[in-house]
């Protein structure tokens, strides 16, 4: 928090030096994220073996699951930001909530798209109205609605307050997506994580070799920590700059 707070505390400085004003920690994080994602891709594309049944397309799974974990963390950031904004009324928390919603939306769309590309050869269709697919799509729509709500309110204070409330409520669709393969057993989506019995209807489940599980572990660790945190930090910074520009505009117009 303190590093993010510093960004806005000294606005003149980054007005002058532009992009070079990235705080050192953000620079390190960005570099680390790029390297880590590259390593994850390397593991997924070359290190882990090719699946015997599904072939190369199975490799998409490493990104598919990881993107969802990243989206989940980002959406949790939206809840945290919302709760904290309502309590403290610090604008920074609302920027974090907004960043979480946008980053989470981007990652969950990545999750949907990789899933669809995988489903085409494995399920022989791009899309099916399976409970989990449906709930994942609705999860995306909920956060699109969140962004729509924000754009529909002119009063900045009211916008932040309503967005915080909706961001807290919206997490229910994320929880629903997580749990739906348990509560609706007629899904064909494979259940990968957790001690559940493998669903007999599931199509396209696969056995893990040791290398595969390692690749999954490393990839989801990277995507659930470095990727959302770095992206959200950049988004919060962007939000601060937007607000700075608006303040400057108002200042010029009022002269």
């Amino acid at each position: 928090m303190s590093a993010i707070g510093n960004l806005s505390s000294n606005p003149n400085q980054h007005a002058r030096s532009g992009i070079a004003a990235w705080p050192p920690l953000l620079r390190i994080l960005t570099l680390a994220t790029i390297i880590a994602v590259a390593i994850g891709l390397y593991l997924g594309l070359f290190y882990s073996g090719t699946d015997i049944d599904q072939g190369q397309v199975q490799r998409l799974f490493y990104i598919h699951l990881s993107a969802f974990t990243g989206a989940f963390i980002a959406f949790c950031g939206t809840v945290l930001g919302g709760v904290q904004y309502l309590r403290t009324r610090n604008v920074q928390w609302d920027s974090i909530a907004l960043a979480g919603a946008e980053v989470g939306l981007a990652l969950s769309i990545l999750n949907l798209v990789t899933g669809m590309i995988w489903a085409r050869p494995i399920w022989n269709t791009w899309w099916t109205w399976d409970p989990r697919l449906t709930s994942a799509a609705i999860m995306c729509l909920t956060y699109a609605a969140y962004l729509m709500l924000r754009s529909g309110i002119e009063n900045a204070e009211q916008r932040r307050r309503f967005a915080s409330i909706y961001g807290i409520l919206a997490i229910t669709t994320v929880i629903l997506t997580l749990m739906i393969t348990r509560i609706r057993p007629d899904t064909i989506h494979p259940v990968v994580i957790g001690p559940s019995v493998q669903n007999p209807n599931a199509e396209g489940a696969f056995e893990f070799s040791e290398r595969m599980s390692m690749t999954i572990g490393i990839n989801s660790a990277i995507w659930s920590t470095l990727v959302p945190v770095t992206l959200m930090w950049h988004r919060v910074r962007l939000q601060n700059l937007i607000e700075r520009v608006n303040a400057l505009k108002a200042e010029v117009l009022n002269k």
Partner: protein, 225 residues
């Protein structure tokens, strides 16, 4: 000095019911909409005898949800247009009492529409929808989305987009309620043994409870200043 909590909520509820008894504005528009929606569904889906078994509970719930969105928008827009929302904020009452009063009113209207639809659909589709368990599911399901609906409608009437924003915000959040309600109703109407579907009403109770707690906590932030 504050008016006691339940007295304030009861006053708001009584005001809503009295207005409705005199004008019948909400219930008549909701009821007419619900009837039209059923006719449109029966043509669009070409409901023959077998298709009905599967589809009828979906038709019932979609109709009730849409009709209640219509009612929610009206009910909160009336508060805002005539300045009553500000008046209630000025009154020395607990903010949560406003929510409770509005919630019970909206809930009763949605439930009334649902209860009216049961005999109508029983006649039109020649299937018995009047069953005790279905009534229970109706009571639980309408409570769930009336709760989130009341909270979100109080938000959307204060925005620029107003009426058009409520369905977009409410439908995804109400989805867990609707899924559970539709699954339970379909099983009940198809005479599935109780052990196979009793989990759905239980899920409904849990979801209702979670939404009630969340919305009561969040409401005071919806109507600040």
């Amino acid at each position: 000095m504050n008016t006691p909590f339940f007295q304030a909520a009861w006053a708001i509820l009584r005001k809503d019911l009295q207005t409705e008894l005199r004008s019948r504005e909400l219930l008549s528009s909701m009821g007419l909409f619900a009837l039209l929606s059923i006719f449109i569904f029966s043509f669009a889906l070409e409901l023959d005898r077998i298709a009905r078994q599967e589809a009828i509970s979906g038709v019932l719930w979609v109709t009730v949800v849409f009709a209640s969105i219509l009612g929610l928008n009206r009910s909160l827009a009336m508060e805002r247009d005539q300045g009553n929302l500000d008046a209630m904020l000025l009154a020395p009452i607990n903010r949560t009492a406003i929510f409770l009063g509005k919630l019970i009113g909206n809930y009763l209207f949605a439930l009334t529409i649902g209860l009216l639809l049961l005999p109508v659909m029983t006649v039109l589709f020649n299937m018995s929808l009047i069953q005790p368990w279905l009534l229970l599911v109706l009571v639980l399901g309408t409570l769930g989305f009336s709760t989130v609906g009341t909270l979100l409608a109080t938000m959307t009437v204060q925005t620029r987009a107003r009426e058009s924003l409520l369905p977009i915000l409410m439908l995804p959040i109400a989805l867990p309620v609707v899924i559970a309600a539709v699954k339970a109703s379909t099983s009940i109407l198809n005479n599935v043994p109780m052990g196979d579907w009793i989990a759905w009403p239980q899920i409904l109770v849990v979801v209702d409870f979670v939404y009630l707690v969340l919305c009561f906590l969040l409401f005071e932030f919806v109507i600040e200043d």
